[in-house]
Symmetry: C2
Subunit: 323 residues, 2 copies
């Protein structure tokens, strides 16, 4: 019997690096992790990671062969195989992560950011399997996006396409400071953190009681606000409403730029379902030119949040293999 | 000697339809026109146009063969070969213009809108000849845009990608009514008409004298305002400044979506050179995430305004031939 082909999907986060052995159907046959933050030197990190991957491969029962390594990382640059100035990782400057991996293997090594990986994952394993033109928006601590046009991930000239989180909500001064050093970026409104900030603004402006008034900013998270909104808390509902509207406003821009078949929402905030989808859809439609109205689907991602980063990273290799 | 291959580029405007016989280098060997508005029935229009094209071909001295027809039209849909609900043309609804042409010819017939045609024209004959990722913004009565990614024009799922003119400048209510029925679209600010509207606003707010105060709205045009600005008229300069800033603000979105190598400005307003380029560049850079800063070129189109529509339309055929 032929050996089963597997891809190693690697998700590099600030705390942990999680990896898994993934087959073409998106099953994870084995997985493990190492502590990213333990390795000050990138060379030591790659050596430890590669060794752990080789050890983990031995645990898979079926005969198998690895056909490539897909890496998802913040500020991963797919053109150059680098991680560039990622604030949350221990290594500074431009890290040639693909080249460092290639000291150990002659197999393909592909690097990209989490949102691009999520987009390719949606195309290979998820709801975009039959689509050629779509966009995935990842809603976590920040807001990321990956564009697929004509069946291919859009890299852009410098490898940094799809930074929708850092488009501004309006021209001129805005109040909300962004981690990128500017003000008024979309992710200061539309993200788990953005939702918290909006809730504080709503609580400041309103005199209505709310079960959330007893929590500090640090204690609050998207799930608490989601639970309160489900129980009918008016301020929590208003915070979601505003978040969805800001998202919908900028999704209309996405449609006018690249006219996708669908836009998928992925990540924590997307789990709030109609609380975020309804205002987003409504405000998107309101801001669409007539030729687009009613045509673009706004859908929840079909990747499970739990494994999505590893699946997305692994999908990069299947996608280049199938081109 | 082999026959010279030529493409017929056709520019359908509300008043005239201009066509030309174009070689691979962008030379127009013969051209002529018919009156669009004379033909109430689309079938009669296509018959008259095709006949005129055939008659004009006889005037070309060199032996030649036509290899295809490229059509640029408002609301031209490249996926379907149709013109859909174009407000400025005599025919209503969805016009299957490519199919109507194919009654007379078995050669390829490609249809798209003016801005997409300008983008392909820039790639085939103009300043984007070596580029794979760029955007062309056409600044005329309105604002159009064409995206090229990975060497290919972006159509989008419904064939309507690149309607940047109808993205909104801010969320929520805006004063400026747009011809599309909504408010606050980019082209209500950034276009020849947008410039006039901004000038009126500036004149309303200011008490400064201006040579332009003697002109009515109907009398004003972009050229008058441009001439006044060149002579140092402060209000005219302010109108250009604001127009450029609004453009730059939304160009930052273009960069964050698709990360192009360059953005080309084409059309009347682009001829105002630094009056529009300087504020656009400055405000674009101000609104860019650090990874993009200083990397994206903002350039004037290298297609001459006079022939660009015909060249752009013809370029569609060369681009499919060379894929």
């Amino acid at each position: 019997m032929a050996k089963k082909q597997l891809v190693v999907g690697i998700d590099i986060g600030g705390t942990n690096t999680v990896f898994g052995f993934v087959d073409r159907e998106g099953n994870i046959l084995a997985e493990d992790r190492i502590k990213t933050a333990h390795y000050e030197k990138i060379e030591e990190y790659v050596a430890a990671l590669y060794e752990k991957i080789m050890v983990t491969q031995l645990k898979i029962k079926d005969e198998n062969e690895i056909i490539g390594f897909g890496i998802g990382a913040p500020m991963g640059n797919i053109n150059k195989g680098t991680i560039e100035y990622a604030a949350g990782l221990p290594w500074k400057g431009i890290i040639p992560i693909a080249d460092l991996f290639k000291r150990y293997t002659s197999l393909p090594v592909v690097v990209t950011n989490d949102a691009n990986a999520a987009a390719v994952g949606e195309m290979i394993y998820g709801g975009a399997r039959k689509m050629k033109n779509f966009v995935v928006i990842t809603l976590g601590t920040g807001l990321g996006s990956g564009f697929v046009i004509d069946g291919k991930l859009v890299y852009g000239h410098d490898g940094f396409a799809g930074e929708l989180g850092h488009t501004a909500i309006r021209p001129g001064p805005s109040n909300r400071e962004c981690g990128c050093g500017r003000k008024g970026c979309l992710e200061t409104y539309v993200s788990a953190t953005g939702l918290k900030r909006t809730l504080l603004k709503v609580m400041a402006d309103s005199i209505q009681p709310s079960e959330l008034r007893k929590f500090s900013f640090d204690e609050l998270d998207a799930e608490l606000i989601h639970e309160a909104a489900k129980r009918g808390d008016d301020l929590a509902k208003r915070a979601f409403e505003h978040t969805g509207r800001m998202l919908g406003f900028k999704l209309a821009d996405v449609v006018a730029h690249t006219n996708p078949e669908a836009i998928f929402l992925f990540g924590g905030l997307a789990l709030a379902k109609e609380l975020i989808f309804e205002p987003a859809k409504e405000f998107m439609e309101e801001n669409l030119l007539h030729i687009y109205k009613g045509k673009v689907k706004l859908l929840p991602s079909e990747l499970s949040t739990q494994n999505a980063a590893v699946l997305g990273a692994s999908s990069l290799i299947w996608s280049i293999k199938e081109l």
